[in-house]
Symmetry: C2
Subunit: 611 residues, 2 copies
Amino acid sequence: MCGIVAYVGHREACPIIIKGLKRLEYRGYDSAGIALMNGDLNVYKKKGKVADLEAFISDKDVHGNIGMGHTRWATHGEPNDVNAHPHYSSSRNIAIIHNGIIENYAALKTLLISKGHTFQSETDSEVFINLIEDIRINNNCTLVEAVRLALHEVVGAYAIVVLSKDDPNQLVAARKGSPLVLGIGKGEYFLASDATPIIEYTNEVVYLKDYELAVIKDGELDIRSKEDIKQTPYIQHLELTLDSIEKGGYEHFMLKEIFEQPRSIMDSMRGRMIVESNHLMMGGIREFENKFANAERILIVACGTSWHAGLVAEYLIEDFARIPVEVEYASEFRYRNPIVRERDIVIAISQSGETADTLAAIELAKSKGATIFGICNVVGSSIARATDAGAYTHAGPEIGVASTKAFTAQVTVLTLISMIIGSKRGTLETSKLHQLMAELENIPAKVEQALALDEQIKRIAAQYQDATNFIYLGRGYNYPVALEGALKLKEISYIHAEGYPAAEMKHGPIALIDEQMPVVVIATKDSSYEKIVSNIQEVRARKGKVIAVVTEGDTTIPTMADHVIEVPETSEHLAPLLSVIPLQLLSYHIAVMRGCNVDQPRNLAKSVTVE
Amino acid sequence: MCGIVAYVGHREACPIIIKGLKRLEYRGYDSAGIALMNGDLNVYKKKGKVADLEAFISDKDVHGNIGMGHTRWATHGEPNDVNAHPHYSSSRNIAIIHNGIIENYAALKTLLISKGHTFQSETDSEVFINLIEDIRINNNCTLVEAVRLALHEVVGAYAIVVLSKDDPNQLVAARKGSPLVLGIGKGEYFLASDATPIIEYTNEVVYLKDYELAVIKDGELDIRSKEDIKQTPYIQHLELTLDSIEKGGYEHFMLKEIFEQPRSIMDSMRGRMIVESNHLMMGGIREFENKFANAERILIVACGTSWHAGLVAEYLIEDFARIPVEVEYASEFRYRNPIVRERDIVIAISQSGETADTLAAIELAKSKGATIFGICNVVGSSIARATDAGAYTHAGPEIGVASTKAFTAQVTVLTLISMIIGSKRGTLETSKLHQLMAELENIPAKVEQALALDEQIKRIAAQYQDATNFIYLGRGYNYPVALEGALKLKEISYIHAEGYPAAEMKHGPIALIDEQMPVVVIATKDSSYEKIVSNIQEVRARKGKVIAVVTEGDTTIPTMADHVIEVPETSEHLAPLLSVIPLQLLSYHIAVMRGCNVDQPRNLAKSVTVE
């Protein structure tokens, strides 16, 4: 995690860095700090948000045309002033900002202490900068050379920028595993974890590659490979607009993003499905259609909410295309010698396209010869660049840490893909396909109807805002929705919520149910409707409070449940796109009522770029 | 769920029924009741345990040589006196005990009300008995004929016994989906959900088949098929002994069963592995070895704790035999048109062998032509009888509702199976196989060492007995152990505990972590050790309390964790058999300290014989 920004050029560096850090706060907000070169190498840092740092430096001299800043998501050492970045070396001659984790930091630290280095913080990053200093002194070499040699010693992931008192016009940057974008302006350069701090000033960017080392000195850019061979930078022109990353009148980004879903789902289908002409096509998949159709097995790797979208896809693909699907946590997949064969296809799902575990899983699957298909939201992200083919979800930037519109966009794209493969394989009848297409086209309007339940859901939220626990139950297509609903509540309200396939409740979780326990049951009309009605009875028999999400017009469940939320009728294959909406709203309102920071929940960060 | 007992013969029925119900309390203990024929048809029933019923009838006239009793696990209607079984018909001329769920009860109830029947309870069972009465009156037929016709009208699962005032020497019984055993004594007959209420009196039993109707009248037994064709009963001789179902000096069955694990794991290996002669063989698998070795895919279906054993098996089989494995919740599998092909093998895991969803999943997989392999603990159980082949776990009867020794026995048997397949396929090197066998043989002694930690774990339990939440983390082979540890705590202490693959913590659950949150991390030395050390750092950075299960001699984690529990070193493939032991003990002690009923936790039942 963590966000980093650096600047060198003709303007004042500090305001550019502070503004950039605010854009990157979705990557972490435990502490923030800035280093500026103005005569001396000055570091200012503070526990808390970027705004706290801003207040802290308001009476300091922060002039200067070169500097770097960091917003932190704590991995080693708790969030406090000392552990905040930038970190000086022992001599205070050089300083570093670092995003990533150095795994062998403990051994390196022991070694450096024995050589006389001293440490202020508990971070792995401070070990990194002292290692660089130690090499520079011992080898009597340049800073750039010392950084290059240090990169050979560290194990782990990093994006770093290093400043030195002795080279006041120089930025040294490198990356492996963590993202780093370089912006090229007129006589000025920017470095950042993503392009948002940069686009205000320039559209010309270079995505640094793993193991590349970039040096900006006296207005000149020099990029070198691991082997110290000069690289010609591949400059890309970005289309990102500024207003797409603002709040637009809503109280929180999350609420804005929930209400954007009719449009974001539509955007995810746009150009890919035209119902009138029975046209169904996806650019990213076209040349891989045969591979998909002949796949022996499809493996889906993802984390968190994307993993839930993967579970929905498992049901869809197995139903429509009759190809066995296995959904894996990316973190588990990569460490267990998984079975991946050449005729297998691996689908990697990630909103940010930067999820470290998912990226590593992709590399592993690649090394075993599988075809890798990526589904991500951020254009030009690491996963988009690491895969053989893929499809963007086109949900637009998602800033709220708890994912909402990215989830429904992922499910939409995965629905299209499973329909395409099913149709290609002949396992999905044409008449059924056309029926599904027509129904899918209606989804944005039905999501709009579901969003109109906002006031009703707010009233329900008011009744349960003080609950300490929640259980979410669903069957079939609604089982992943139960998991996702629980995760949303957990993330932003800090209420311990847990999702379960409804029938599993009896194998343990039912012991938790008493009159204190709200149980959200997703019970829309589908093939397991009768079964889930029985599960509601079982919850009621233990006096649990039942909040049921049902299909419009249901007359049975309203006689049993404490609260009933009606969503429009749709095909059971598309149910997750509708039934998840009230659960997003429920979590949102409960979190707001509890006074939680909805867009930046504690301990979390938007994209998990460490393992 | 629910347990049923009935008796007709020359002895007093009541003491036999009460004693039998106590043996069946593992099947549910929400309420209990008894019906006796002595002049009139008398019903006595009470919310609570069988002991409460016993107190209630102490001043009643309970003489008589024919009767039936029921101990309930509530499905329709909360646990109270009225919803307790037996249930009279409206006229009070006939009465029923029922185990199972009638799915179309609502429609039938509406119909019967329109015909003048009245209802006292909210149960589906009372609908059943009134349906029988309605048919008897309308068709002017015998009770037996009315029951037979009623069975054609009900949808769902049942084991029933019916008594009638007009036929004072007759028991009518039937089953579909729920178990029913008939014991044959000298001039006396027994009916029960399993053999434990019967074995004290006779070893000769008949397992009733689905759709069979048994009538015992005037000392004669008559079993009929669905089509009313007389069946010749297949009488089996049981070997079960009485002392195997007693507590043996421990305070609770659960503790007894935890401490039995060195022996039960040994019993699960006995005769299957002889290390000196490198002999590895499993009766149940022998004739299926080729099928296993050539399997395209292995599907594992299970629920609850058995599902966790299935997850361990996924890692083992993929590691050793390189065959793709998919682990499914039985309840999800059966309702989603799963892909099952003829070269697939389905492994069904269930302690009781009666789990309704697992049984139904087996039937579905069978219908698709797959080979079904069962792993269960109860000899002669429905699953054992429904599968093509299988292996018993030989853990001995498990009475505590929270499964402990059955889990380790399942894992042991699954380890043996994956070693056999891996060896057969040549994917597991002989030298590694022999190493694993030697290591597996040492496991019972190492489990003994882990059990010696009991006092230390008790001290830790004392510190966290008032916690409201727990998180359990593990990676790789220890990920299913984290799930299982959380489930144990949830089941018996009613603390909301949740297990997660450690890396997923950052995708949401970490928001729950503050200084109140105990986090159990299973961090034994294995290939992902360094990664889980990072996860411990992340928890500490948020001030969570870390209880770590580590390998003996670990020097790193003790510097970080609040509590360290050391288990003996072993191969990472066998780690779950050791690392789960402290988690079982931790849950046990916390539950005891909270004053919970460890062996019979609220809302739960031992084997989940409804969906």
